[in-house]
Amino acid sequence: MTITLIIALAAFAALMFSVRLTKGLALSADVLENPTEHIRSVDVEAFRNLIDRDEEEFLRTNLPPADFRRIQRERLRAAVEYVSCAAQNAAILLRLADAGRRSSDPATADAAEKLVNNALRLRLYALHAIPRLYLGMVFPGARISPVRIVESYEQMTRQVVLLGCLQYPTRGVSAAL
């Protein structure tokens, strides 16, 4: 009985904590009202370089093993930062696009729908990629390459531009950027 009561209390605490996390503002109103100030620039090319297998192989063959492991860990740590940043950007765009799905303009709603789906995919890939990157830090010799994160992020950014053009047709792409 003790074990079950402990499980029951733990379940209740976990439930209340989860509810609080869900119902509490996952993204504060300030973030959504002023997304410009909260979206961080992500250097996609730099991220590509960090996860590039050829680059990794080059380092592996040209560096002493200990140095390679140290440098690879640093690269992967930086890659985790990039992925986390991209995922956070995706979160902000996701909430904004979610509101756009209810637009009366079908083209805007469609663009917003695509952006929502892509942002969700990015967060899903990030959920897979970050543990793999951390695993790569533990075992620096392992082959880790979350390439799909990059593709998904690029697709998402294209859709943000498209959504921006649809919502602000008179200002054009440069204005949206």
């Binding site: 079950t4 439930l15 989860s18 996390l21 996609v44 902000i92 892509n118 995919r121 899903l124 949206a176």
Partner: protein, 226 residues
Amino acid sequence: MVRRRLDRQFPMFFLYTAFEVLQFVVLFTTSRSHLQFGEVYVRVYSVGLALSTAIRFGVIYELFKHFFHRYPALDGAGQLLFRGATILLLLVAVGLAVSAPGSSASLMLTATYALDRTVSILQCGLLISLFLFSRYFLLSWRSHAFGIALGLGIFATVELAASAVWLHLGAFGNPVVNLLTMATYTGCVLTWIFYLVGQEREPQYSVKALPDYDLEIWNRELQRLL
């Protein structure tokens, strides 16, 4: 629910509420008859409990499907989460059932409460998984779905504790536990009424301007697109 057409949006939950009302009528009638709280009452209660927990499972799956429908990109991940969480929680629950089987002389009662405890663990775990899943993906909860999940979650945790006590006591019902369970269930019903009667609130964001990105990166992406 019928008037607001919520029975079409949440058919399993509607079935659950209808079944609970029916179960109450049957059990109340039985308890007031010459049969009172005898063997027949126990059998009817056990069967009703089994059906009720099965329907509650259906309600939880309905909540998962609610998100799959609104966010198709998460369909695969959501299904995987549901199956994975179910298997994991089932292992935990079965392990617990084996390690702490209960002490009732009645095999039927022991089986009923053990099953109830197992299902409560599953339901609690699935609801917590759903809340965490929606938190990570920042899924927008409509008020109705959230209210249903909240009520179910609270009741599942209290049921879990209650079944543990019943298994330990080996007796059919303890006044304090029964009162606590009934009070909790009443609270859950009030929660459901509160959320289902109220209007669904969509979060409103006034997007003043699109986010500003590094122009060099965006131009590169556009060149690749063209």
